[in-house]
Amino acid sequence: MSLRTWVRTLWGLAAVLNGAALAMIFFYAPVEIQMGAVQKIFYYHVPSAIAGYVLLFLAFLFSILYLWKDDPSYDLLAYTTAEVGFVFITVVLVTGPIWGRSAWGKWWVWEPRLTSALILWLMYSAYFLLRLFSRHEARAARIAAVVAIIAFFDVPIVHKAIEWWGSIVHPKKVVLEPPMRQTFFVAMIAVFTLAAALTLTRFMVGKAEERRQAQREATP
């Protein structure tokens, strides 16, 4: 199967799964008794966080592979996974405050996990800014790889520091009723399929750009 067919299939799957997940969230999952309907943000908020971290971890791995093997494909993969991961972290950072405004009465409370996500978001914003600044630079890919590696090493330390520093805590253990659990499970698969589809699409766009660039250099 060609890459293009793969992407089509994935997008089809993502559409069906996300449709199913949304239907379950709005019509099947029960309303949480204390927070009300807003709790249903959880079904995309949490899987997006997990998908975001997984993608940024992949970006870290591809960055190491790039420095090690010196193969430009790994650079594109690192760029791709970082970018899509960044989109998912953005989803977390936007939905978190909306939920928080409803549950805590304030748009932003310096809740540890949300704060860590914000710092991560800032780090990768700088990463993309660096990519933008250095796009005509021979060492650009190498520079970006080093930054991605440092940023990911920093994640556990940031988490620890913010945890000690902050005071408000996420519920450590969430008890979910069976319909909630089923909905969460479907939403999880849906979000991950969407992440895979976005990543592959972004990768293909990047490949097309590379081909175009090569053509431009070949024709004087």
């Binding site: 060492r139 930054v147 090493f153 520091a161």
Partner: protein, 224 residues
Amino acid sequence: MNYVRVVALIFAKDFREELRRKENVISSLLFAFLSLVLFAFALDPTQVDLNRTGSGLLWLIILFAGSLFMGASFRKEMETGTLQALLLSPTDRSAIFLGKFLVNLVFLLFLEGLLLVFAYLLLDVQTGPVLVPLAVAWIAVTVGYAALGTLFSALIANVRGGQVIYPILLFPVLIPLVIAAATLTQDALAGRPVYTSQWLRLVALFDTLFVTASVFLFEYAVEE
């Protein structure tokens, strides 16, 4: 030549160069002093007890003035071609990094010392009785800061407009260090234990991790 001697030689070269081209040193120090004066106006020192709440602000000054200094540390080398020459020579690349790192470390510590003196003179921050634990905490924090500052400075040395993104790139990564520095300074000034603090352990972990990572990654950062 053994490794330590190479590092020492590169350190001596960079150190002399910074002293000879003094504009970088002077502008960073003056910037730090100026920020301290601005704090006095922004904060009303008669009402804010800087012994308690000022520690984080002092570290903000160190962060800004330090990045002003370190951000330029490879730029001169790139312009004059010194770095290329060094890279072509059979010296171990990590030695080039360590030499530069030590220069930055020495400068930052000097800046911090000076800042404490002026914080005492201008804002009556009493550091005398707790100088030893305070020094331990600040040196520990500065090691990690200088390591990443040096590495990132090498990264952006050739990038057009690199000076602009340097602090944007560096500061988010340093956030754990900033929290630790502010807390440790506050603890030290209040006479609370520093050596047994969990924050000092976190800083030690940060230092070990990022000094190692920087030494290792520097090679990739400068390779053509």
